[in-house]
């Protein structure tokens, strides 16, 4: 097993306090489960409840003649990427490849020093084996069939089953796997003896090995690949084919990519600037994957040469010159005045565009906004030449990226399907969650700052927004945005329904995030404000350097909680007619009658999507616990 090999390789000895001698099992049970009569009764009740629930679940999942896991297995592509055109499917893999490469690279660059003790790993094996064993034992008796292979039923139309023991025979392979897992767990436990607590495996290695085991299983495990025969509207499990015939090769490539990029990241770790660069790429990644890789823009190059590029150059040169002047340390008050004038210009271009006073390319308007924003913070980058140059280069890059994306968004897609409808399934859920977080987080912070600001107008606006949004059910917000948003937009500007619901999600979750951040802001003591003021920091510097970093640290648990709920709330998109992950399980597959008939098979899909949602949420919550520990919430 690859997990075991890593144990030996990455062995590291750390001094720990001696292991508490564990209680003998009888003693432990008495102390924890039957310490009083009341506790004993509760224990028995819960145990019974657990046994029945577990038995029901296992028997539905594996013994029920009505369930058909092919409803999930044969539709995995639909679940994950919905209607993405098959002839372009390689783009999906390329997207995943980019994400995994960047993950590997980042893991190498940051080299997180998480470890899992061998003792922990051994308990995972033992626990997994025990659950599997229990599942094997929870089997119901074999269904009885007549000579034609039809199920036998009794007078109440219930299926007739044989004895419990008769079912066990069908689970030989389960017992075998359980034995292997328990054996492996025991081998680690007893093989390492007292060293099991001091032997550690890097979490990254362990994760990579786990991923490898899953990918390897695609090559080995024989599930019976789905094989449909459209003519008859039936399907059969082909025992000679392997599961994942079409995905095992790409997944293997992904696995290798992840490993290679990890080593590359480790190798170039010492190089300067790589970490901020990686972070920037992470920030741009969702946009790049969506607009460039998946949507494949059909760029009008003639327009680029005649309009787009000259416009970029004009803003780059003039804006760069203005910003370089503004970062002159001896400029003083004139700088602020000039920045304010630029802000007015930016606002004016939008107002003018809204009322149709003059036509102007969206890109030019946005450029003015960006320039004004840069001008407003320019004062903080005043200083020696190198510092000013970095600031101006930052402007050129930001402007370039912005122009690039606006050009992409304005271009048609080469995919020959209507608008954004290629986006669906789990892929859309992920995009919605990521975009939702990327935009709602800054908006939430701004709202929280506005609500606690000393300017009444900001306070009023923010409070009104937050209280209104929090008083409306999310589903209402969604209906509102999917149907009514177009009425509020200026003429000629349209937003696809996919975009509209994401805007709804952003506004909705930003209101909640704002309240969480506000809680954090209130926990920053007065003395911190005074100390920042006394050293001469401006209000903006005080907020960005002193107050927010402390406030956000305190709000990590509620912020992650909110992130998890936004991730799950994307499933409500199903109700406004978007083909998200849940809708495929709930509506699409159960209505599928060709090429194969899956009509009515809802439960399998619902179990499957629950599992995937749960994995994502659980991973986030685990990560936040780690982050809290690392940042020392509560201890510093």
């Amino acid at each position: 097993m690859s997990g075991m090999i890593t144990v030996e390789e990455a062995e590291e000895v750390v001094a720990l306090p001696p292991e508490q001698p564990s209680l003998p099992p009888g003693e432990w049970i008495r102390k924890n489960l039957f310490s009083s009569i009341g506790n004993g009764v509760l224990t028995v009740l819960f145990a019974l409840l657990l046994v029945f629930a577990f038995r029901g679940l296992v028997n539905f999942a594996f013994e029920n003649p009505e369930r058909d896991w092919d409803a999930v297995r044969a539709n995995l592509r639909l679940y994950m990427t919905f209607a993405y055109p098959l002839d372009q499917y390689v783009r999906v893999w390329v997207s995943l490849g980019i994400v995994l490469s960047l993950s590997g690279l980042s893991a190498g660059l940051w080299s997180p020093d998480g470890y899992v003790s061998a003792r922990r790993i051994s308990t995972w094996f033992l626990g997994g084996g025990a659950v599997l064993l229990a599942a094997a034992l929870a089997v119901q008796g074999q269904l009885q069939r007549d000579e034609n292979g039809e199920f036998l039923i009794d007078e109440d139309l219930e299926l007739i089953r044989g004895s419990w023991a008769s079912g066990l025979g069908s689970r030989i392979s389960w017992f075998a796997l359980a034995a292997i897992l328990i054996g492996a767990g025991a081998a680690i436990w007893f093989g390492l003896g007292d060293r099991r607590r001091n032997t550690f495996v890097r979490t990254v290695n362990l994760t990579y090995a786990g991923f490898g085991v899953i990918v390897g299983s695609l090559w080995v495990v024989r599930y019976g690949h789905y094989n449909g025969s459209p003519a008859e509207g039936t399907h059969y499990a082909d025992p000679d084919s392997l599961v994942a015939m079409s995905t095992r090769l790409p997944w293997t490539v992904m696995w290798v990519l992840l490993g290679v990029s990890y080593f590359v990241g480790k190798a170039v770790r010492g190089w300067p600037l790589l970490k901020p660069l990686a972070l920037t790429f992470w920030g741009l990644l969702p946009f790049f994957v969506f607009w460039v890789v998946l949507r494949d823009p059909d760029i009008d190059w003639a327009h680029v040469w005649t309009t787009d590029l000259p416009m970029y150059l004009a803003f780059a040169v003039i804006g760069g010159a203005v910003l370089f002047t503004l970062t002159n340390p001896s400029l003083g008050e004139i700088g602020r005045a000039l920045a304010f004038v630029l802000l007015l210009v930016a606002v004016f271009t939008f107002v003018g565009g809204f009322f149709g006073w003059f036509s102007m390319l969206q890109k030019a308007r946005l450029s003015f906004v960006f320039l004004a924003a840069f001008a407003l913070v320019a004062n903080n980058f005043a200083g020696e030449f190198a510092k000013r140059r970095t600031f101006v280069i930052g402007w050129l890059l930001t402007l370039g990226v912005m122009h690039y994306f606006v050009t992409l968004i304005n271009s048609a897609s080469t995919l020959n399907i209507r608008s954004d409808s290629f986006l669906g399934g789990f892929m859309f859920t992920i995009f919605a969650a990521v975009f939702g977080l990327m935009f709602s987080f800054p908006l939430g912070v701004l709202l929280a700052l506005a609500r606690t600001s000393s300017l009444p107008i900001f306070r009023l606006l923010a409070t009104t927004f937050i209280e209104v949004v929090r008083g409306i059910p999310f589903i209402t917000v969604l209906f509102f945005f999917s149907i009514m948003l177009p009425l509020f937009l200026p003429e000629g500007m349209e937003v696809a329904e996919h975009g509209a619901v994401i805007v709804g999600l952003v506004l909705f979750s930003s209101a909640y995030l704002a309240e969480n951040v506000r809680g954090g802001l209130q926990s920053v003591r007065r003395g911190q404000y005074e100390a920042a003021d006394a050293t001469g920091l401006t209000t903006a510097q005080r907020t960005g350097l002193i107050v927010l970093p402390q406030a956000l640290r305190v709000s990590i648990p509620p912020l992650v909680g909110q992130t998890i709920s936004s991730y799950k709330e994307t499933s409500l998109f199903a109700i406004v007619g978007i083909f998200d992950f849940l809708r495929i399980a709930n509506n699409v597959v159960p209505n599928q009658s060709s090429p194969i008939n899956f009509v009515g098979h809802k439960r399998e899909g619902l179990l499957f999507v629950s599992l995937i949602y749960w994995i994502g949420s659980y991973a986030m919550s685990k990560y936040s616990q780690k982050l809290e520990k690392k940042l020392g919430v509560g201890s510093r």
């Binding site: 911190q528 001469g536 920091l537």
Partner: protein
């Protein structure tokens, strides 16, 4: 007012001038016509019972509180609502608080270099070199990479002093810098302050450390109920105070 004050004020340049300063918290008047002039390189200790307005007064001098009547002039710049004046004065007036108020999320070094880098636009390397010098001065260069929460109270207060000094202020304000410290740590902080006084820094110190007042102060200002009751040299103050209220205060604490 005594002769000592006029003498001082006339002999050297005026650093801080307070003229009939009034301050209200709602209906409560915390400062009632406070007037004082502090000369360059002078060390003034402010004494007075709890609630007498000592903190309020020195917090008005760097505008952590806004005064409502009278004038405050620091180094020739009058404190008004004009933000430019406030920022200028704050960067020239260092302040040390009773509760240290270090930034808990930054290392000691970052605590000290933050303001010079962002307010004075000092390059990072220069700011850090200067910060190490200051840590040397206050005696804890080895703590530079630690976080405030990992330091003792006395060490934290010395970092706070270094942080204020990093802005190269012309005046330092101390609001009961040793009141939150355990007795064995008070000395290390007072020693740093004595060194600072010897180096010629203009200082206003609110404290209950009579030994420090006697040894270091050029003048002692005694406040009660928002007013300056008596001003004089330590000698005058501790041996033959003129005001009855001063005598009462001294009899209670000595």
């Amino acid at each position: 007012m005594t002769d000592a004050m006029t003498l001082h004020a006339s002999s050297t340049a005026e650093m801080i001038v307070c003229d009939a300063v009034d301050k209200w918290y709602g209906d409560f008047q915390a400062l009632k016509g406070v007037s004082a002039t502090i000369a360059e390189r002078e060390v003034v200790v402010v004494l007075g019972p709890s609630g007498s307005g000592k903190s309020t007064w020195i917090r008005c001098i760097n505008r952590l509180e806004a005064h409502q009547g009278g004038r405050i002039v620091v180094d020739g710049v009058e404190l008004t609502n004009d933000t430019r004046n406030i920022e200028k004065i704050r960067s020239e007036v260092g302040m040390v608080f009773q509760q240290f108020n270090l930034f808990p999320h930054l290392t000691v070094l970052d605590n000290i270099t933050l303001a010079p880098r962002w307010v004075r636009k000092v390059p990072k390397a220069d700011a850090e070199a200067k910060a190490m010098e200051l840590l040397e001065t206050v005696g804890i260069p080895e703590q530079a990479e630690k976080f405030p929460g990992q330091l003792s109270g006395g060490q934290q207060q010395r970092v706070a002093i270094a942080r204020a000094l990093a802005m190269e202020p012309r005046v330092m304000l101390f609001d009961e810098p040793t009141s939150a410290l355990d007795p064995e740590m008070i000395k290390e902080v007072l020693d740093v302050m004595k060194g600072l006084a010897r180096s010629g820094m203009t200082m206003i110190v609110v404290t209950h450390e009579m030994g420090f007042a006697r040894e270091v102060a050029d003048r002692i200002i005694f406040m009660e109920s928002g007013e300056i009751v008596e001003v004089g040299t330590p000698e005058h103050f501790f041996t033959n105070p003129t005001e009855d209220r001063t005598k009462l205060f001294l009899s209670q604490i000595l």
